[in-house]
Point group: C2
Chain length 150, copies 2
DNA sequence: TATTGTTATACTCTATAACTATA
DNA sequence: TATAGTTATAGAGTATAACAATA
């Protein structure tokens, strides 16, 4: 039996519920951190993945971030229109595009990363370094259970 | 300096990113657990909160779950149409509705709760009881930083 | 004047299916 | 036949503003 007396009743013992709510807190914090930049979580994710593997193609970026091929298209177009990503046809496979960051893209990623880290430090002010490391370890072990997106 | 060599580059040190991904794993697991019931995360959340506080009104449910008043309307209507929630005007405040679960709502909540817990046990099979407790504690401390939704 | 619930609306995210061009 | 990218579309989640009825 799993009885509780909290306001959320049966949700209280569920890890998924608490992940969802904690994630929402960080999402709101993210939004505040990057306010005025026009960036969103997905876009920063794409910039970070392209920065980590210059020349990577669209499909690979999507697979890493759990975004479907079909949904990558407009996201990449947005970043190209904003002058942050450069798309060139891959000479070794003419179906594919290689993606790299422009200087503006690199600058935006760096700026946002700094802002987000500063905000996260605030949000996690009550956490010891060991607690933060523990949290990242536990989350990492959960992430490994992810199914391929596409 | 915060350099990394992972596939997600600058995202790797960010707690918010890993919360998002871990949360997505649980969301997919949730969907599998309740498949065929027609239930979704928000709907189960509402059922659980109403079950925990019978006679609660719509606005209060939304405040607890972080759902805006405007978005509560159609969700509650869905649950009433499905015969899971009973809505009556509050005799002490004729602007408000009191919500309670019907027997069907109680049965659905119980069924889904059992399914979800079984799925979560699978997903967290590699976690000791202490690790799960630690995760819930850390997430709970993050949730406390949530801003009011409405 | 504030609060409960409502309507209308819009944007983002996510998902599927069908298409093209290359491999 | 399989893969990279595209288009079209639809559902769900979330956000704002304006309104009616009641407090």
């Amino acid at each position: 039996m799993t009885e509780t007396h909290s306001l959320v009743g049966a949700l209280n013992p569920l890890v998924g519920y608490h992940l969802r709510r904690a994630s929402a807190v960080f999402a709101a914090d993210f939004a505040a951190a990057v306010e005025g930049t026009g960036m969103r979580q997905v876009l920063i994710g794409i910039l970070a993945v392209v920065a980590a593997s210059p020349g990577i193609n669209q499909g690979a970026v999507g697979r890493i971030l759990g975004i479907k091929r079909a949904n990558m298209v407009s996201l990449i177009n947005e970043l190209i229109d904003a002058g942050m990503i450069v798309r060139e046809t891959d000479p070794t496979d003419r179906r594919a595009f290689t993606l790299t960051l422009s200087p503006a893209g690199t600058a935006m990623l760096d700026d946002c990363t700094r802002r987000i880290e500063a905000h996260e430090d605030q949000l996690l002010a009550g956490f010891s370094a060991a607690e933060k490391a523990m949290l990242l370890d536990l989350l990492g072990r959960i992430e490994k259970r992810a199914a391929p997106t596409d």
